[in-house]
Symmetry: D2
Subunit: 192 residues, 4 copies
């Protein structure tokens, strides 16, 4: 998985239970992504490979590690969880489009994985969620690319990483009687 | 609308902006529902009438009032909202089934309304959301009907109203750069 | 139901079985529709009423009549059917949008009805289907309104009623081992 | 792609146009599939590999060949097509479940590909479709496995390959003004 973008693993959230050590992981985020926006006939085997690694091979390997670990955790009595695993999706998770055949194939696959895991591991008090990010995110990368400070400063039209993180923290806090598998996140003024 | 079940209107949430008076409504919940579970040929015109009143006539009238009011509010600077309107859906919002032709028709309609409004009013900084409740809720009514204390005491298998309310409060707090239109809520052990 | 647009009832298709008389109805089409495209706050109670009549009251009453009749039919041995009931949907059956709150509410409701009926009556060898029409249809009405002969003559960009009818006839002919509940129909060049 | 199951390429359907030779391919079917039904933690890297090959690498390579060829075809004047490419999906194309994390990931990906291609190549008069097969199919393999002649002889409860093929032939025949991207196919008595 060395080719994958960094994957954030947040440790220690919800430390009400745990197996004892300070190192018990309670929350994990699969945030790897690779954008391919091309007419279909321009897509290369290399594009397909990275899409597959990012959305299938990487996610399956990551989830295998995380869920195996979570099963060892005791249930956190405050929210009924042994752990939470969140996947980051996109508009392309639910809709293919003219230049997204590769990107959407990967994102659809990731969504299927997340739904299957939510159904399988919920019974074991492991929470699996999927967030559909629908819009551009203000990041150092997007800022350097766009150099559009008007866009960047208008929170009505682009997502901020902090707001996304806030939703993820909320998901991690949801009590066992009402867990969310999927939610969408988009700026107030986004056209969709 | 006298035949509708009570509809909760929560006033005063997010009072960062407002038109001045203490009475400005900032959050509204359309929670009216009427369950009809019958083979199709047993459904009566009366059933159709109440389903229509609850999910279309009532919701359209309610949303008209609420949104007209919200438009008068100033934007709450903490979350970018003039107000939030939340609709309560169910599994039947996304799936018809053998005994839910009337119930699902109503819930699908309500979901369509909520999506249309989210798209139309987001641009005006009014947040519209839809929650899909997938499972039984522990209420005085369900407790009196079931008399199943095992079910009632096991938060892994039924929703608690407080947990649903907690999600609604979270939606109300979401910042303008990352609003959710739809999320599902179900107990950890729910089969779905 | 006197306010409803005409509903086509095609009799006699697939006359392999039947209860004997020449009048046994084998196929029915619920084609009623009423378009409302307005900003939400401009929608009138009259709009809501006609949407409700067209998509709920009318469809429930129509389906009640048709399905009660179909149950009296013997199974057509060529396709395993006592009858087929087809509902006509639209893009708004699966997506609400800024000016379609009323139209989509009705179309979502109709789709829910059709799915519920397909599940309930399939077991009784009654076929229920739903067609999502995604695009403009060339009709005398649309031609008189648009007066755009270029549009009308280009079959790549608009639907012809005959092509839709051809799909409906195909659905009516499907054998019992492979029935379709839902299909979409759109011109080859449609953007979607 | 040597590990893939046989892929049927039907040549010569709709020979109204064509580039002249008898060998112009007008219809292609991507029917490759590989079933993995396992608890998630039992899934092996080998399972992931075959799922990926079958649903992504194989389908992308196949579609690349087919679509490149189709673009060379003249438009068949009877249906407005240069060619049709059909993908075979399953219930797992639209729903992940407890033992289908790998299978559904693959089938979701294939569906995304098919939708993207339908949108991109429709404008070039190439028809791309996706069939959701929802139920067991009576094949020599399934018959040898089940040895359940009651199941096999009851067309109300299982699909026959001929009925599926009939739908594919119908899709190939659809005129340009009303093409279907997706339809579902299931036995009359299937519970869904």
């Amino acid at each position: 998985m060395s080719s994958l973008k960094p994957v954030l693993v947040v440790a220690g959230i919800g430390a009400g239970g745990g197996t004892g050590g300070a190192t018990a992981i309670r929350a994990a985020l699969y945030n790897a992504g690779h954008g391919v926006w091309k007419p279909f006939l321009d897509i290369t085997p290399e594009d397909v490979k990275i899409i597959t690694e990012t959305n299938i091979e990487g996610s399956f390997a990551f989830a295998h590690e995380v869920l195996s670990d979570f099963k060892q955790n005791e249930i956190d009595t405050t929210n009924g969880k042994r752990g939470i695993l969140i996947f980051t999706g996109a508009t392309a998770s639910i809709r293919g489009n003219t230049t997204t055949s590769a990107f959407a194939a990967g994102k659809f696959a990731l969504r299927a994985l997340s739904q299957s895991l939510a159904k399988e591991f919920g019974k074991q008090n492991i929470h699996v969620a999927h967030a559909i990010i629908d819009g551009g995110i203000s990041t150092p990368l997007s800022r350097s690319r766009c150099n559009n400070s008007e866009w960047d400063q208008n929170e009505d039209i682009r997502l901020s990483p902090e707001a996304i993180a806030s939703s993820y923290v909320y998901l991690a806090s949801q009590e066992r009687s009402a867990w969310t598998w999927e939610l969408d996140l988009r700026p107030a003024h986004e056209k969709w």
